[in-house]
Amino acid sequence: MPFESKSEAGYTIISIDETRLDASISESFRVYLFDQIENGSSNMMVIDLSLVRFMDSSGLGALVATLKKMGGEGSLKLAAAQPAVLDLFNLTSMDKLFTILPTVTEAIEEK
């Protein structure tokens, strides 16, 4: 499984050990995130995107689905998005729904 989570300062930090978050793994990524909400210790999440060079609309869809499922409870922040990923968020206006911070540390510290 290319997804991992650890706890830090009250947050669950989820990292993706893949350079591509695309349709071949988006559904298992969504399931992983849903599991975190249902069984995880915390609904305060930071997703570390630092290794992800490429994301497509299905990766974006998994993130939106997770945000919807949280239903306004807790927090889902994104960290360390690379240029192509940022470009995708801006293009699709998803930067309006997601808080994207340059580093995981800044994501944790951000209020």
Binding site: F54, S57, G61, A65, L67
Partner: protein, 152 residues
């Protein structure tokens, strides 16, 4: 790319989502023959991935064993990609919308899918869909902007 002659290479994969990366990386390599900037190359990659995945997921219902063809055509001023499948044709009504409306206060309306075609229509200069006989082809073109130093 020093004359107006057109050059074409055809790529072919089997209909598995894991194979889309192969097309993406090959197209990235081909983009190095053009004057596209790194940001534009990323966008071309995104568009080709969206349309190849659509062919696999929608035309072939995610069934392995079918052919997806990507024809890459380089002209002095255009890069054209044609993605073809021999599966279920797309309803052309799908092409048209290229907006991304989003209301942060209305979670119920947030879309978890359906952004592939609007992305491609936003990023490409020209988009076309055609079904001829059994073959469905999605064609998209991007203008290759020339820097002034190339206009000698």
């Amino acid at each position: 790319m020093t004359d107006e002659k057109s050059q074409t290479v055809r790529l072919e994969i089997d209909s598995e989502l894991a194979n889309t990366t192969l097309v993406a990386m090959a197209v990235r390599g081909l983009c190095a023959m053009t004057t596209l900037s790194p940001v534009e190359v990323n966008r071309v990659e995104l568009c080709v991935v969206e349309i190849v995945n659509n062919a696999i997921e929608h035309a072939y219902s995610s069934e392995k064993g079918h052919k997806v063809e990507v024809s890459v055509n380089l002209l002095k001023s255009y890069l054209t990609l044609t993605i073809s499948d021999w599966g279920k044709p797309m309803d052309e009504g799908q092409l048209g919308d290229k907006n991304f409306p989003v209301d942060a206060d209305d979670p119920a309306a947030w879309l978890c899918s359906g952004r592939g075609l609007p992305i491609v229509q936003s990023l490409m200069d020209k988009v076309e869909y055609q079904s001829v006989d059994d073959k469905n082809s999605f064609t998209m073109s991007k203008q290759i902007r020339w820097s002034s130093s190339d206009l000698i």
